[in-house]
Symmetry: C2
Subunit: 407 residues, 2 copies
């Protein structure tokens, strides 16, 4: 399959599976001037799928940076109302939101933190309705990534054509190059949803992880729900909020984690590496943390606040999956978290608890859920990992054997 | 001066002289994804000049074309309200509008006319307040142009590096490359304004043009005003709506044009050339029109409606001016109309009549002004052209001698 054919399939996949555009629907694409060629393809595919209007809001990384560098302080305490109106219109019209992301990991390096946080606060406040609509799947939305030069440089230090290498890696992770990607995804999603449904039916009380350096038991709270990256709008239209997505995930019971776990892939935290680390838990809390690389950073992470010493997510990803197979560290959560069984230090998702989205944030603890200002995934999966589910009445059943699904 | 230095000067000129950004002001740049590099420079210069917020609305030519090709008919009968809100906010905040134009002359070739006109009508209606604010100089605005590949191809058919050639041509026309462009422009505008003031003081009753093939008398209506490209906001902040600008212009008395005029540069009408033509006027009306090239097109132009057989603009441009010196036909009115003394067939500008902007369109005829659906500039200047002004009491004074200002 030629590069152009793969690109066309990726655009098609984004439109038909990602946001899953419906005839007559409006689409707002938020992207940067670095993605023009791919965005044009997506626009074409969206109209072919029956979109009524495709709006593209291009921002420019250099313009954004210049704004943070040179605008007067007052500029960071306001937010243009028309941008709010734009998002509101898409929500009111039951449109869809698509982000086409070409990340520059160092875009805001050196910008005063106060400017960034003031800017983010103003935007966050103005766009609250929009964030809620997206966060609670009231409308269809999706994020896909394409290479930027800076990102490709970071991932493929030694390659000659870094952009080409990152493109091919992305194609592989989103199942492009091996037949009809849309059908492959439909099958993939069906598989993920069957896994989640099976786990939800079993209602395991605990998970038990065993691997070299790892012997860990994680309690699951009453009412926990296993979720996948496949979501549905209130009108029951399916969409995939992140592409790629490989995980089936839920919330741990904050105080019921016991034992030891060892990471298997580096954790990239604030642009730096933490690796070769072991965490020991007692009553859910991390009581020992030893890293071969990045000890200070690890200490900083787990003491960010009270919740940063507890777990917030449990996610299952088999070693036989495209991202894991690639063996690449992407320095990008959208990809790296889908490479391996992982846990997250910090905040948990209320969507993984029955009725959880109706609770206030400070009520979550009563149901066993952790809250924190951090949420950092770290990878623990390998082909030597076995995971058992332990039922309410103490029975043990195989969930993972040698890094792959056992059922 | 290096290319990068010239580019930086052009950006500086656009900001400091074109829209003339004031400290604390907002700027909305409307441009395309073809101009990213230059737009970034302009954004930087605008913040350096004290702008509070610089918003960039990028459209993409390919996305626009795809919309016109593939969107359902219904899409052309609506216009996004947030875009109206965006323009309104800039007007309400006394901001400035800047267009950075990289024209593709054939962008909409082959698109059904109905779609284009429906789209333009919907936009025109929704954006009425904005068009009025710009048209009547209620806010500062400016248009500048940079090369697009398609445009450069058309202008420099035989050049090897067409983009480079068009860039250098544009730099020359906007007085870049020969010292400090901002000072050169301040001097240039002062000159233009002095010319206009002198002509307004003289209150000529008629102009008399003489050149090979030309012997023409044009009456000027009572209350006519000579204008320049230099405008002022209601707060008296100067700005230049078009860059380049070389002309001093006013309205002719519709029924008082007598004699014969011969063009000196080709007229590009609907992408085609009309050249080597002579027009004979009686009582203001074109009664004979002979062209060596494009006779049919010329006939079509002057019979577009009743007003298309009369003149609507008289503009004075000396032969010693950067655009004229370049000898280039730009296929772009922003440039070509500033190359030479010219007249326009068709519609006239009410801004050139005292109190003219307060009149309804159908009242303009009572004051001697022509109205038409067309407004086509054609060039008549040369180094052999003399122009006299004739005063109310019949005195004759030299305005142009051998193609240049005589006073």
């Amino acid at each position: 399959m030629s590069f152009q054919e793969k690109l066309a399939q990726y655009a098609e996949l984004t439109v038909r599976v990602g946001v899953n555009i419906q005839p007559g629907q409006e689409l707002l694409i938020q992207t940067t001037t670095d993605t023009v060629e791919f965005t044009r393809l997506v626009v074409e595919k969206a109209y072919e799928a029956g979109a009524k209007q495709v709006h593209v809001a291009f921002s420019d990384p250099f313009v954004m940076r210049t704004h943070y560098e040179l605008a007067p302080d007052a500029a960071f305490h306001e937010f243009p109302d028309w941008t709010v109106k734009q998002r509101d219109a898409i929500i009111d019209h039951k449109g869809a939101f698509l982000w086409i992301d070409a990340e520059d990991p160092d875009l805001f390096a050196g910008i005063p933190a106060k400017r960034l946080s003031d800017g983010q606060k103003s935007a966050g406040k103005a766009l609250e309705r929009y964030r809620q609509a997206v966060g609670s799947d009231k409308i269809a939305w999706s994020i896909v990534a394409i290479p930027s030069e800076k990102w490709a440089e970071k991932v493929f230090t030694d390659e000659q054509d870094q952009m080409e290498a990152l493109w091919q890696a992305i194609f592989q992770t989103v199942r492009i190059g091996d037949g009809d990607a849309v059908s492959l995804w439909q099958e993939h999603i069906k598989n993920l949803e069957q896994r989640a449904a099976a786990l939800n039916e079993r209602r395991y009380r605990k998970l038990h992880y065993r691997a070299p350096g790892t012997d860990l038991t994680i309690g699951l709270p009453a009412g926990h729900m296993w979720m996948t990256g496949a979501s549905r709008t209130p009108d029951n239209v399916p969409f995939i909020a992140n592409m790629p997505t490989e995980e089936v995930y839920t919330v741990p019971a904050k105080l019921e984690v016991e034992g030891t776990v060892r990471n298997t892939k580096p954790l990239v935290y604030q642009g730096n590496i933490i690796d070769g680390f072991t965490l020991r838990f007692e009553n859910g809390r991390i009581v020992e943390a030893d890293a071969e690389v990045g000890q200070e950073l690890l200490d900083e992470l787990i003491s960010a606040d009270e919740g940063a010493a507890y777990l917030g997510e449990v996610a299952l990803v088999p070693v036989e999956s495209p991202i894991s197979d690639s063996g690449i560290l992407f320095y990008n959560t959208l990809f790296d978290e889908n490479a391996s069984n992982h846990l997250a230090i910090g905040d948990s998702y209320p969507t993984c608890l029955e009725g959880g989205t109706d609770l206030e944030r400070d009520q979550l603890g009563e149901y066993g859920l952790n809250t924190s200002i951090v949420h950092e995934d770290f990878m623990i999966g390998s082909s030597e990992m076995d995971i058992d589910g332990i039922t309410e009445d103490g029975k043990t059943e195989a969930i993972f054997r040698q890094g792959n699904w056992a059922f």
